[in-house]
């Protein structure tokens, strides 16, 4: 499937995958590191749209101990002054579920603005239940 990026509605829910081994979600608390971009994430932090991808599909990955998956309301993210944009063109092909937070990139890691956005996102992520852990069952 390919075409035009589909606009993101305020009513949508986004998923953020959190590797269990990193301890960025513990005892009911989501920590800011769960929203820290990798140095090579230069176009924005990745999340996925519930509208287009199941939580089980989002949780599939290579992490040996699996993942937790946090849910965030788009309206809350935008209300915090953080942009969300559709980015369906990914290295694995077209994915309508893929979105990015373009202000939160590897280039701004460690800046005051990045620290503050990460902190706000962690709080937003605790408004809804965190699911998991989803553990990989096959290679």
């Amino acid at each position: 499937m390919s075409g035009e990026p589909i606009p993101i509605d305020d009513s949508e829910i986004l998923y953020r995958r959190i590797p269990v081994s990193k301890e960025w979600y513990q005892k009911g608390i989501v920590y800011a590191e769960a929203f820290e971009p990798r140095p090579e994430e230069l176009t924005g932090l990745s999340l996925f749209r519930k509208r287009f991808k199941s939580i089980e599909a989002v949780s599939r990955g290579l992490a040996k101990q699996g993942y937790f998956v946090a849910s965030l309301k788009v309206a809350d993210i935008r209300a915090a002054g953080i942009s969300v944009v559709p980015r369906p063109e990914t290295s694995d092909g077209w994915d309508d579920a893929h979105v990015e937070l373009p202000e939160l990139t590897g280039n701004v890691r460690g800046s005051d603005s990045a620290e503050e956005m990460q902190s706000k996102l962690a709080e937003i992520a605790m408004q809804l239940p965190v699911e998991g852990p989803f553990v990989r069952t096959s290679q």
Partner: protein, 135 residues
Amino acid sequence: MSSTIEFESRSLMSHQGPLVAERSTGLNRSIATTARPWKAAIEKLYSWWNDPVDEEDGYAPPDRNVLAKAIKYAELLQEHEKAPPHRVVQDAGGGIIFERRVDSDGVEKYHFWSGGQIEYIQMKNHKVVARVPMD
């Protein structure tokens, strides 16, 4: 490298952020009582040293330079009876964070970045209110 660490250690010990001076209030005393002890934090760092983990989901683990600095600082802070962090975790880019929750809205942390820099960062209500380079 040792002279660098000695210099940084002096900077760290002379830093008077809240993480360093924790015994003045009842609230802080309470936090100190329940905080994860330094011993556990240091053991965790040594476990990463002794049993290096592979990259996980694209997140690089801390290398030995970062680990050596974090271990050195943790041992120095323990030696000087500073309040221990509540969490010791890896960041998303090969760094290490010592984090301490000050109150319901406040967090302070030492961030050992993968590039070798060390920063003390204090946050309140999602705002950075203090930022001190430690080297």
